[in-house]
Amino acid sequence: MTETLLEVNDLNVAFRLASANLTVSSDVSFSVDRGKVLGLIGESGSGKTVTSKAILRLLPKNASLEAKAIRFKGRDISTLTEAEFNRLRGTELAMIFQDPVGSFNPVKTIGWHFRTVGKLHRGAGAPRGEIMKEAKEVLAKADIADPENALRKYPHQMSGGMLQRCLIALVMFSKPSLIVADEPTTNLDNLVERQILDLFDKLRRETDASFIFITHDMTIAEMISDSVIVMYAGQIVEQGPTEALMRRPQHPYTQGLVRTARELEGEVETLTEISGEIGTGVHPENRCRFAPRCPLYEKACDHAIALRPVEGHGLVRCIKAGQGAANEVTP
């Protein structure tokens, strides 16, 4: 039986700017089951990072957050005080950022980071030897060949891939139930990217933690996630189980992304283009946000489009979803 770990209801995030309020995430609702991986796909400006940072309350000061409820293990965490939330973050909820270098203190050793996290979560009296023993175990799990040696090193003495693995180990060290990974492989080389993906795959099988894996790469999302959410211009445009979504994407935007990904895997002369670019700023309320780029656009799209269920698939924000079988994307 699956158990819902996180449930987000109608999350809205806006940034207060000098000129106006800019909505960057509108009416986002989703849930993550225990032990599952949710892939969150979108381009820059789609609201994917803002949405996940909102859950961890990591938004900048000028952001305002509204949500009907954010339930974690059945408890509404959107109403917690700052002090209560601080206890949750790090122990239960954790985040892995894109840039591992910026996540470490450059003048402290890797071991110092483990000691600090260990004291924070196990109380100041926790025996040091025990913390270090556990640190070595978790580093070994993250495929660090010589944990003893790694603990003595400073961040600049390690390669990007090693450091990212240390960061993942540090996050796993406090045994969180939900880990948000924000493009953890984007700046890495192919082989290192593959190592990190392999590591995530191993971790999801060995722990019962849930992951929200943020990426802009369809292929990576397909490899790693159980279900997928596609965001465009601050809205969820499609969500469903990974296999159904990749095989028969229903939203024209998802179709474009999947088609390009498939074409790059195969051999073609020209790639299918999604014309135009993602808009920034204020989106008109009375029109589908993808309309300016949509190949299927027609007059009927000129109103606010709601997410609606498509049988055997998931939710799609398109009035044409579920019509006919012409949506199949063949590799």
């Binding site: 190592q195 369809m218 490899m223 992304l257 790059l264 020209t270 780029r293």
Partner: protein, 316 residues
């Protein structure tokens, strides 16, 4: 071997930053970011240089353009040393926003090379700018915009238009699509392919994205820590990679994950033996000979060569 653009045994040396004491004692360490690379680029082809960070793929392009000085060997265009001032070699960078002057409009940015190289005079300037913008798929309305008013894809188009202004024969594109959003990437890739045909361009495309390289490039060259390890027609290399490194690299494309990426340490140019094969520490086929000398190239198919002792020297 002679193509349009030839790299003859090119060496680019960087000095490694040493501590102050060793610098005072006159001890400095250096390493070859590009280590005796010979490569030929045929007219009208798109050559992909594929490698990880630190492989020297960007450095070798910058050496061709004179942005790095060459410590050994030579780069020739049509058999003669390339004249760097005549605009026949141009480069498009990864980040278009930082490669365009924020206080210049797009038209001004394109006008400067047009004027300097005498491709357009006072009377024909507006027309020449519009033609270049049209070539890259930008409308005339972009002429008077500033870089910050353009989106990522539009900026990269503008940067390409500016590079085309000098009427180059070879265009170097350094990770030109890796900062772009996925839905825009396809547009720019298609554009580069179109420009190759319409402008009689030869393109050297530097990337670490194996999918992109397969789509765009006619031939690819694999680099690893300054050494060229393998080159050949894209299709042949992807179908049957010869070098163990290429095999590992292309193994990452495998969806079923039959191959497991090794987590062993990579080559360290400052501490490891530089005479040995760069891939020695990670190679599953390492032999005694690999530690003594970096292997020379051996033919491993039509137009396909690999620097690895696994293959016979005489075979062509």
């Amino acid at each position: 071997m002679s193509g349009l653009l030839d790299f003859h045994d090119v060496v680019v040396t960087f000095a490694a930053s040493a501590g102050m004491m060793s610098r005072l004692r006159g001890r400095t360490t250096s390493f070859n970011a590009v280590d005796h690379v010979s490569l030929s680029v045929a007219r009208g082809e798109i050559l992909g240089i594929v490698g990880e960070s630190g492989s020297g793929k960007t450095t070798i392009c910058k050496a061709a353009l004179g942005l790095h000085s060459v410590a050994g060997g030579a780069v020739t265009l049509d058999g003669k040393p390339a004249r760097l001032s005549d605009g026949t070699l141009q480069m498009v960078f990864q980040d278009p926003l930082s490669s365009l002057n924020p206080r210049q409009t797009i038209a001004e940015a394109i006008a400067i090379p047009l004027r300097l190289h005498g491709h357009a005079g006072r009377g024909s300037m507006a027309e020449a700018i519009d033609a270049l913008l049209k070539d890259v798929g930008l409308g005339a309305q972009f002429r008077n915009r500033f870089p910050h008013e353009l989106s990522g894809g539009q900026l990269q188009r503008a940067a390409i238009a500016r590079a085309l202004a000098t009427n180059p024969r070879v265009l170097f594109a350094d990770e030109a699509v890796s900062k772009l959003d996925v839905s825009v990437r396809a547009q720019i890739l298609n554009l580069l392919k179109r420009l190759r045909d319409s402008h009689d361009l030869t393109i050297v495309f530097v990337t670490h994205d194996l999918h992109v390289a397969r789509f765009l490039c006619d031939r690819i060259a694999i680099m690893y820590f300054g050494k060229l390890l393998e080159f050949g027609p894209t299709r042949a290399v992807y179908a049957d990679p010869k070098h163990p490194y290429t095999q590992e690299l292309l193994g990452t494309l495998d969806h079923e994950r039959k191959s497991v990426a090794s987590t062993r340490d990579v080559f360290n140019p400052l501490t490891d033996d530089r005479r040995a094969c760069r891939y020695l520490n990670r190679c599953p086929h390492a032999m005694a000979a690999c530690a003594e000398r970096h292997p020379d190239f051996r033919g491993t198919g039509p137009g396909h060569a690999t620097a690895c002792y696994l293959y016979e020297e005489a075979e062509t």
